[in-house]
């Protein structure tokens, strides 16, 4: 915003907000949005309560540095998958934006989803748009206080449950519930519960469209991903203008009017308060509420629908639209390839890891019978969802004896650290440092196998 002051233009970073009262809307896109909200919020609130193999189906167990996601366990060494999934998310955003603009913002962004719930609560408590406006204009009274207090109480309860669920993705939610009921919640769990609850309450209850307009970076750069063949929500100015009110039975041509009846309902339903008739604006989150309401008006006026619609710039200019263009095909191929590669790689990754570390205190020990021994520490990481019995074979030196007693039991998702003593006869040591190989396999599942290499140190002059 720019204001003129003492003859100079001064830029201010923030414009004072005018409260918006988005009108309730019904229609195809509203139904799609409600469907999206139901599925996404359903997943968010229900997933932590579902268990699989004695674990929460989605649990980001930070203290154990293990992420349980469906039937997979991710360890810190699997961070490449996180990086690849982030790349997939970026390509998905590029693809859907190139195809149909801000689909993410309009239907799936947490800000949109939670704001819709908060708006729904507000409508249930305060009534319709006009009733809300009337209430806000009223002088303070006990009744106004009661209505506002009810709304904020419901908002706070919903936000607190959202915060609780969020923490439940990091701390097992049943344990979390017990801790809360017994007032034994840890300090950081308490912090995150309050922080996330306040963030939800503040963002969805108070800030709403300001988050999209001032805080979200995507709003600013999404236009760079659009082209003349991207589907965007547009007002057909050729058909709509000149706009003006008229009676239903009046012939607009006789009155020199276009199809727009200038009812301003498209502005009233807009969650960011813009007028789509002014053209595509960065504030538009692509929720398509204006399409629904305008179609409704067109139907009532017996005009064809689609005065505001998903269309492309080319289509509006009367040029042919090409949906399947090079960038869409490239994004799709890249997305499918990376995603398929990630899933294949996750499904076929080793479910066990073996590390061998030499004891650094002594190079070797010589026994009373001349036997040369080396000591090590082995770490077996069972990344599977079930316990396994492992057998370890050591090779590399003839007659090498191992102190390991098979089988070794390692629980699901556990790490076992054990000492290992390897002994060899001096005649078998043809070199001061010999490569040895530890082969590990699960007794019941011969396909689960891994190897690790180490060195066996002997006397310099064997």
């Amino acid at each position: 915003m720019a204001t003129e002051q003492n003859g100079s233009i001064e830029s201010t970073l923030f414009e004072k907000r005018k409260k918006l009262y988005p009108r309730e809307v019904h229609g195809l896109f509203a139904k799609l949005r409600i469907l999206g909200i139901t599925v996404l919020l359903g997943l968010y609130y229900l997933l932590p309560w579902i268990n699989l193999n004695e674990h929460q189906i989605v649990l980001l167990d930070l203290p154990a540095r293990k992420f349980y996601i469906f039937h997979w366990i991710f360890w810190p060494q699997d961070f490449i998958y996180l990086a690849l999934l982030l790349i997939c998310a970026a390509f998905a955003l590029f693809l859907f934006t190139a195809l149909a603009g801000r689909l993410w913002c309009g239907y799936a962004c947490p800000q949109t989803v939670w704001t819709e719930v908060f708006l729904w609560i507000e409508r249930k408590v305060e009534g319709s748009r006009s009733q809300q406006m009337k209430l806000d204009k009223q002088a303070n009274s006990l009744n106004k206080f009661r209505i506002k207090a009810t709304k904020h109480t419901l908002w706070v309860i919903f936000a607190a449950f959202t915060g609780f669920t969020f923490v439940g993705f990091f701390t097992p939610i049943r344990e979390l519930s017990t801790s809360i009921m017994n007032f034994q919640l840890g300090p950081w769990e308490t912090f995150w519960l309050i922080f996330y609850s306040l963030a939800t309450y503040g963002n969805a209850g108070w800030l709403r469209e300001q988050v999209c307009m001032y805080m979200c970076p995507y709003a600013r750069f999404q236009s760079a991903m659009l082209d003349k063949n991207s589907l965007v929500i547009s007002y057909d100015a050729l058909r709509g203008e000149p706009r003006g009110s008229r009676k239903k039975r009046q012939d607009p041509v006789a009155k020199n009017l276009g199809s727009c009846v200038d009812c301003t309902l498209c502005v009233q339903v807009c969650p960011t308060g813009i007028d789509i008739r002014d053209g595509l604006q960065y504030e538009c989150i692509g929720c398509a509420a204006c399409i629904d309401v305008c179609d409704d008006v067109m139907e009532k006026m017996d005009y064809p629908s689609g005065l505001i619609k998903y269309t492309t710039e080319n289509s509006l200019d009367g040029k042919p639209t090409k949906i399947l263009r090079a960038r869409v095909i490239i994004y799709t191929l890249l997305l499918i390839s990376i995603l398929a590669g990630v899933i294949y790689s996750i499904e076929t990754r080793d479910s066990v890891a073996l590390n061998i570390l030499r004891d650094r205190n002594a190079l070797y020990r010589e026994g009373y019978d001349g036997t040369i021994s080396n000591s090590y520490t082995i770490k077996i990481l069972n990344m599977d969802l079930i316990e396994h019995r492992y057998k370890i074979d050591v090779s590399g030196i003839d007659g090498l004896e191992s102190s390991i007693v098979d089988p070794i039991y390692v629980g699901a998702g556990q790490v076992l650290e054990a000492p290992l003593l390897l002994s060899a006869q001096p005649e078998a040591l043809h070199n001061p440092s010999i490569k040895i190989t530890l082969s590990l396999r699960a007794s019941e599942y011969p396909s689960i196998t891994t190897e690790s290499e180490g060195r066996f140190i002997g006397p310099l002059d064997p």
């Binding site: 830029s11 203290p63 540095r65 810190p76 961070f79 996180l82 990086a83 990091f170 701390t171 840890g186």
Partner: protein, 61 residues
């Protein structure tokens, strides 16, 4: 952004090791991850703030 940075960096480096190097030996994992997350958040916020300051300085010239 801070989430992605925390996820990638802390899966490669144990945040408790960083904390121990800095002399904080009795931190829990949740504390270390939380502090790390807000550190990255702060870094992103600073970079945003500097962008505003520099863009204003440039436009005032």
């Amino acid at each position: 952004m801070a989430c992605a940075l925390s996820g990638i960096i802390f899966s490669a480096i144990d945040p408790l090791l960083i904390a121990a190097e800095m002399g904080f030996n009795d931190l829990s994992y949740l504390a270390a991850y939380s502090i790390g997350f807000f550190f990255f958040w702060g870094v992103c916020a600073w970079s945003g703030l500097f962008s505003i300051i520099f863009s204003r300085a440039a436009s005032n010239k």
